[in-house]
């Protein structure tokens, strides 16, 4: 399995990453992907920005471990994970997960698995800024239950 993870402040382009993942190979029948974006708040003050803090070193190791675990569960051909840190605006992409496999079932399952595990195991924290000030985002119980269904 060709696997790469990166944590960086720069954005990414899904088409470019997709092309790089499948370049020169014809054994890939399915690529499932996920992009998470900064979403405007549903209520209260509008979101001005979102800042992502992380734990350098541990973050990369945690992401790599999640990918290895996915590769042990499904026959994957290539995986790419990019997670941004720093200050982002509403609409900006935060995270990308791309999974290439021979068939769609395993590509979908592994992509969702990686996102679910990333949400509960990768050391990132989000802080929302509105005109009223900054507020750390609370962890969601639904993320714990999403991750738990794979064990």
């Amino acid at each position: 399995m060709d696997a790469a993870v990166s944590v960086r402040s720069e954005s990414f382009d899904l088409g470019v990453e997709m092309a790089a993942l499948t370049a020169g190979r014809s054994d890939v029948g399915a690529v499932a992907s996920f992009v998470g974006l900064v979403r405007q708040l549903g209520e209260g003050q509008p979101l001005l920005s979102m800042t992502l803090e992380h734990y350098p070193g541990m973050t990369e190791a945690a992401l790599a471990e999640i990918v290895v675990e996915a590769g042990a569960r499904w026959p994957l051909l290539a995986v790419r994970v990019i997670h941004r840190h720093g200050t982002l605006a509403p609409g900006d992409p935060i995270v990308l997960v791309l999974v290439a496999a021979a068939h769609r079932g395993e590509a979908f399952a592994a992509c969702e698995f990686i996102m679910d595990y990333l949400k509960t195991r990768a050391p990132f924290w989000k802080k929302e800024a509105t005109a009223a000030g900054g507020r750390w985002v609370d962890a969601r119980d639904s993320d714990d239950s999403a991750a738990a269904r794979w064990s």
Partner: protein, 83 residues
């Protein structure tokens, strides 16, 4: 000497991202380290309150029973909210 890192809201509360501390006699696991730091009072007292603040030892998530030794890197932080 053990390196302690704080992240996110906890980092802001304690006012520092990092400190180096000497383990007191008998402090041999994460649970005991939480108690040593909590003895300072607020805001460190949050480390023994409830179960919300997580710990990592040498960049691996661990439970309170994980054993400590000199030179370790320990991080404390709220539940993660990435992705």
């Amino acid at each position: 000497m053990v390196k302690i890192l704080y992240f996110a809201g906890l980092r802001e509360a304690v006012g520092t991202a990092r400190e180096d501390i000497t383990l007191e006699a008998g402090v041999a696991d994460i649970a005991a380290l939480r108690r040593q730091l909590a003895a300072r009072g607020e805001p460190w007292a949050a480390l023994t309150r409830g179960r919300s603040l997580r710990a990592a030892l040498n960049q691996q998530m661990v439970g309170d029973a994980a054993a400590l030794k000199d030179g370790d890197e320990v991080a404390f932080f709220p539940p993660v909210t990435g992705g």
